[in-house]
């Protein structure tokens, strides 16, 4: 340290003992404080700029498409393809169906990983498979969904280009997500609950079913709602398995074998192959609908779920509140 100090000693800023003079120290500190100030303002600026960008995007999209939105637009269908009723219905249909399948599966897998799994090869493989599945691009899942669920050649299941095929494709797409969300939710349950349940004589399953899962529901609902918000905007995975058109007359049915385009897929079709004269305008309005749905899910439902959780879960929810 001594030789180094001599090497870098600048005339007047180092005393003979090799330590910086009080003036040099003060200057250095002043510089550091200035740097701190500048960086703080810059970071605030970045955060504000990004928030502003988000707000601009959202308002721009809503404003571009607001002109066509009325009750008829979102509930009816037109032979000319002018209205979005079928697409909205299909969006919710596929969403609810795939959540119904996906959440129990994901929860079951998470329960296994958190509660039952031992340090073995099966567990490692399952974890690796979950993460890898999470990394598969959605277009590949769309192709796979088409080949495996919709088509019947080469070992496909032959459901046809249908809402069922779309549902199953979305299930595979979102399964890793829900496993992760469920795992987080289960792990957030305090250990005392498990121990108390065991002390009362419950076996593993009773503990899981009657204590852990109910305790994990608040955290679970937030994750499920966020996942649902993502599912709404899914295009690449649904275009091929579920189709790009819905019939203008029979769409309001629960028949899973009908083809069903969702809002996002319809938006793509309008932009890519819009044949109606005002395809652009309809596309903008569809985008507006999508953004409104996104806001409803991410902000509205989440807020409601938070309120509900605080009411239901009481003290434990207040303790483990999100930061």
């Amino acid at each position: 340290m001594g030789t180094l100090a001599k090497d870098v000693a600048v005339a007047g800023s180092e005393s003979r003992a090799g330590q910086p003079t009080p003036d040099a120290r003060a200057a250095r500190r002043a510089r550091a404080r200035l740097a701190d100030r500048i960086v703080t303002y810059t970071l605030w600026g970045i955060a504000i700029a990004l928030t502003g960008l988000l707000a601009y995007f959202i308002f721009y999209t809503i404003q571009q498409g607001a002109s066509l939105i009325n009750w008829r637009f979102i509930t009816q269908s037109d032979v000319a393809g002018d209205l979005d009723g079928p697409e909205l219905f299909n969006t919710f249909y596929i969403l609810i169906f795939s959540l119904l399948i996906c959440v129990p599966l994901g929860l079951g897998c998470a329960i296994y990983l958190v509660e039952y799994a031992r340090q073995g090869i099966f567990t490692t493989i399952v974890r690796f498979a979950t993460e890898t599945l999470a990394g598969v691009p959605s277009i590949i899942l769309g192709l796979f969904g088409f080949i495996f669920f919709a088509s019947s050649v080469n070992g496909g299941l032959g459901f046809g280009v249908s809402r069922l095929a779309g549902t199953f494709t979305l299930v595979i797409l979102n399964l890793p997500l829900l496993v992760r969300v469920s795992e987080d939710a289960l792990r957030s349950v305090p250990g005392e609950l498990r121990e108390a349940s065991a002390a009362l004589g419950a076996n593993k399953f009773q503990t899981v079913a009657r204590v852990l899962v109910p305790a994990a529901i608040p955290a679970l609902t937030t994750g499920v709602i966020l996942t649902a918000g993502k599912m709404i905007g899914e295009t690449a995975a649904l275009l091929y398995p579920a189709g790009g058109n819905s019939s203008p007359t029979g769409w309001f049915s629960l028949n899973p074998f009908l083809p069903g385009d969702t809002l996002a897929v319809h938006l793509y079709e309008l932009r890519a192959e819009g044949i109606v004269p005002n395809a652009q305008q309809i596309a903008n309005s569809t985008a507006t609908l999508l953004i409104i749905l996104l806001l409803v899910f991410n902000l509205g439902l989440r807020y409601l779920a938070g309120l509900l959780n605080r009411r239901l879960a009481g003290a434990s929810a207040r303790k483990t509140r999100n930061k």
Binding site: A35, W44, I46, A47, L50, F57, Y60, P104, G108, C109, Y112, Y116, A117, V126, F128, A129, T130, E131, T132, L133, A134, G135, V136, P137, S138, I139, I140, L143, F144, I147, F148, V153, N154, I172, P176, V179, R180, V181, A185, R187, N203, F205, V208, A209, G223, L226, G229, K230, G233, T235, L267, R271, A287, L290, L294, F297, N298, T320, N322, K323
Partner: protein, 353 residues
């Protein structure tokens, strides 16, 4: 193949019925056993899905080389992508993917880390709670809407900037620059939320020690926190890269869908470089699959491209696990239910559209 599926279906149905009966009537001990098997089956289904996907993508992709008699060299070094004419050179899409991804990561990482530092260190509580839904909304905007916004807002910007620089109208704006900019916005929430978790879960003692030594807040962040959280940040970057590679719709709207040229070409005279619309792997798959008939070169080539994409994603997942395992921070197993963990959980690559 169909026979196996039939047998499997019958077996599964029988097992389901038996399981339900035992569950309902068997008493707690049997119930416990059956449910354990049920949970294990759920886990096995996840595994099975991945195996099935790998099998289908792999088997179809190899047909390009076996049935269609394309050589590996032809595929990976050929510059012309025209499956209708028998030419499947994938260089341009691959270069396109790499360029767009690189651009997106280079732009997004500094901003993400800055935002993460802001949220964990500098923001007061109200700002922190405000940024959480902001990040979630960023992550939740559908990819196709990003594409539309890109066409209407970013492409004109790029077009104006390039043509202004060059002084003449040479470029329409579609290409890797526009795609890279929008893609960086899309992977921002991913990298940010994982970085927030990484920096936020550093022990408070680190900060306190640094401040006790007289460092300013920025010095603490720059010299202590960011290096300490670097492996977590790096994991976030890798996962963001994985998301960027698989992104389809937004890139399809912005990159030009033109497998005929590289993103940038250099000339000997002013303006020395010209930007062109190009294509990426995902865009090519997306466009070509529409008209592909099973058994044709079109079809098989698309699957080969898909397989290349799958391999890249797999490599990134393995890389992220490796990086995460070398540090105390584990991005996939947050043990504390922090808000950022929820964003991380829902913005990881599974949500590419």
């Amino acid at each position: 193949m169909n026979l196996i599926l039939r047998a499997f279906e019958i077996l599964a149905a029988v097992a389901l019925v038996v399981g339900v009966i035992v569950f309902l009537f068997g008493g707690t001990k049997w119930r416990s056993r059956v449910s354990q098997i049920a949970f294990a089956v759920c886990a096995a289904i996840v595994l099975l899905s991945l195996v099935t996907i790998l099998y289908f993508v792999g088997s179809h992709s190899f047909q390009t080389f076996t049935d269609q008699h394309i050589t590996l060299g032809q595929f990976f070094t050929g510059k012309v992508w025209n499956p209708d004419n028998g030419q499947v050179g994938a260089v341009i899409p691959i270069v396109g993917t790499l360029t767009v991804t690189l651009l997106a990561v280079l732009i997004s990482t500094p901003v993400s880390v800055a935002l993460a530092v802001f949220v964990t260190e500098i923001a007061p509580t109200w700002a922190r709670q405000f940024m959480q839904p902001v990040l979630e909304l960023f992550a939740g905007i559908p990819s196709i809407v990003y594409g539309l916004l890109g066409i209407e807002l970013i492409v004109p910007l790029v077009r104006y900037a390039y043509n202004y620089l060059v002084g003449a109208f040479l470029y329409a704006g579609f290409g890797v620059v526009a795609a890279g900019l929008v893609l960086s916005l899309m992977i921002l929430p991913t990298i940010t939320s994982i970085s927030i978790d990484a920096i936020g879960s550093l022990p408070a003692g680190l900060r306190e020690a640094s401040l006790a030594l007289g460092a300013t807040r920025w010095q603490t962040i720059r010299r202590t926190l960011i290096p300490a959280g670097s492996s977590g940040i790096f994991t976030g970057v890798i996962l963001g890269t994985g998301r960027a590679i698989g992104e389809t719709l937004a890139v399809a709207f912005l990159v030009g869908s033109n497998p005929g040229s590289f993103p940038i070409q250099f000339t000997n005279s002013f303006p020395y470089f010209v930007l062109y619309p190009t294509s990426t792997i995902t865009v090519q798959i997306f466009q070509d699959f529409k008209e592909a008939t099973p058994g044709s070169l079109d079809f098989d080539a698309v699957w080969t491209l898909a397989f290349v994409l799958l391999l890249l994603s797999l490599l990134l997942v393995i890389a992220s696990r490796y990086v995460a395992s070398r540090s105390a921070f584990k991005a996939t197993n947050a043990t504390r239910p922090r808000g950022a963990a929820k964003i991380a959980a829902t913005t990881l690559p599974a949500t590419t559209v």
